[in-house]
Amino acid sequence: MSDILGLINLQCPNTMKELSEKRPLASEPFGAKFRLMDFALSNMVNAGIDTVGLILPFHSRSVLDHVRSAKEWDLARKQHGLYYLPMDEEEEIRNPQEGDIYSYYKNLRYVEAGQRRYLLLSGCDVVANINYEEVLHFHRKHNANITLVYKKQDADCPGEGYVLKTKANGHVTGMKKAESVKKDENLFLGAVLIDCELFLRMIRRANFGGNWKFFNEVLADNVDNLRIFGFSVKGYAKRINSIDSYFQSSMDMLKLENWREIFHQDNRIYTKIKDEAPAKYMEEARVTNSLVANGCIIEGTVENSILFRKVRVGRNAVIRNSIIMQNTNIGEDANLNYVICDKDRDIQPEAVLEGTEKEPLCVIKHEVR
């Protein structure tokens, strides 16, 4: 039995409303086959964590449809396994974006019943293959009360985020919310390893004390009282907080070394199995620098693009610098450049859709009312 209890908060603010008004960020498709929540779930499972709670977002249909029994993550067990932690009426009235403390408070029973030494709390907006066993080792080595996982930025990163100030040994001496994160700053990736007892105490106190936000109220206030350490992720790690970062991070996967590091190492990223046939390239297909999922049938030209499962590319169609999600048909002679196309769409023959690198054109799904 693992010493760590997993808890994933899927109530991330939806920062990609251009693509989908209602779909939670956790369910956004990524990397030609996956959804963003797959990273958080798989990273936990790969560290031997056998009990994971999912705090569900308000629109949870897509999450439930994706995870189902959690068999793909080997979490469909007789004991332990996956626990869905749904919203209740009261919570619907509160806006989860105003703070996460109440979501944790309401689910403290899950943490207590888990009876583990540590809690690993994670969000669902990061693309990374993180080895949490190393994080635990680091946590113990430093005798830390809390370990925060961060990535030192190799370039400026637009959009707000939490920045950690650390000493050379990793000791966190300050944390703050920043409007945008600069090169060489330490961006907090939303993963916290904390002693369960401490978590329970902190959340109870915070809830009664009227605090709303775990990171920038509760943790930030305790920097001087607790041993808080920062674990630096050395490999690829990017946070998705806008269409821009989503597009950039998707295109990063077209570099062989990133693709290998994120998806093709011993610790795999798991996702829902769909039993599609291998991708089929027809006589006239011309495909370069792309990711192509099973079930695709390609007759046209595809460059620098990402094709999810069951995408059909018609004859003479040209797709460049684009992301085409599951089960979309691209008609003959259509021409797409810098487009993000949602799933289940039909792009008419000869259609011309053109976005720019800075502003990809989003073709959205018909939303069910």
Binding site: L256, A277, R286
Partner: protein, 385 residues
Amino acid sequence: MQRTECLAMILAGGKGSRLGVLTKNVAKPAVLFGGKYRIIDFTLSNCRNSGINTVGILTQYQPLELNWYIGNGSSWDLDSEHGGAFILPPYMNDKDSSNWYQGTADAIYQNLNFMDMIDPEYVLVLSGDHIYSMDYAKMLAFHKKHKAKATVSTIQVPLSEASRFGIMNTDPNLRIREFEEKPKNPKSTLASMGIYIFNKEVLKEYLIADAERKDSDHDFGKNVIPAMLNDKLPVFAYPFEGYWKDVGTFESLWQANMDLLADDPPLSLNDPNWRIYAGNHSYPPHYVGPQGQLQSSLVGEGAAISGKVSHSVIFYNVVVEEGAKVTNSVILPGTVVEKDAVIDRAIIGERCRICAGVQIQGTNTEVAVYGNDETVKAAKGKGAK
């Protein structure tokens, strides 16, 4: 528990000796096919898609990888409360000591206990060696409609090949009047596919009788069906139309793979109403590099293609490096084709390393074949080994 109406028994003990290095460590039903599948996936998917949820799989030769692959049958949705996938290896009982399956009929005979335990009304006997999509529910409906005691699934074959099969003559109602196993001078081109439906009690009776006969080969085609015809039992021929292939040789295995590459292939892997299920490995979508070129090919997950691939079947996790050229070939999982290597008309085994610059060339009559885990520094002599 619901009663099982029809139990499927899959004969999966075949050695597939003509597949040489490809069946060195696995039974023929576990041979890889089509970029993702193993041969037995087609039969198992047919069962699942035909609504048959209880399947016995009779294994014998090199069963480890096959058993591991089938597991509890969950990949084919067979892990249900009302059914299941049951691996049935030969086992010892109190009657005698030598218990290898002596023939197709003997294999089923030795599992009469299992059949009684499930207690179905009908037994569907299948082979795990064939590549085809078939709705067994239609054959069962045919069997019931004709009030048959046994039904043989049949397909028309060219006269030139007829002597490789069990060949039969039927009356206009499709009742079988004559059945000859591998005749020298075939009288018709209606061939048995080795797929049978029996009323369970009738099957049991004939298997017990057959087991006692010392002169019997304990084979369905040679002994059991002729015995039933001899007794004037109503045995019918179910006419199957469609793609059906026994991939017993390198050439036929290679050809069946190539058949998938047609624009409109005779066997569809993409039919949403007839999915072909297979074991899954959680590999990512495949990667095509800036210099990659792919035409008329199938490519599995986790592959990284930086070279030129045409008219080929590329399995999961294959790497084709820059400058390499793969044509008219089947590359099994995990193999690396290094820079500037050239492969034409070949089947390359799993986890091989085809070193930089090596040229492998099959001929029009013989595909070049390499087994698993080989490092190829220079091509062998022409053609297959």
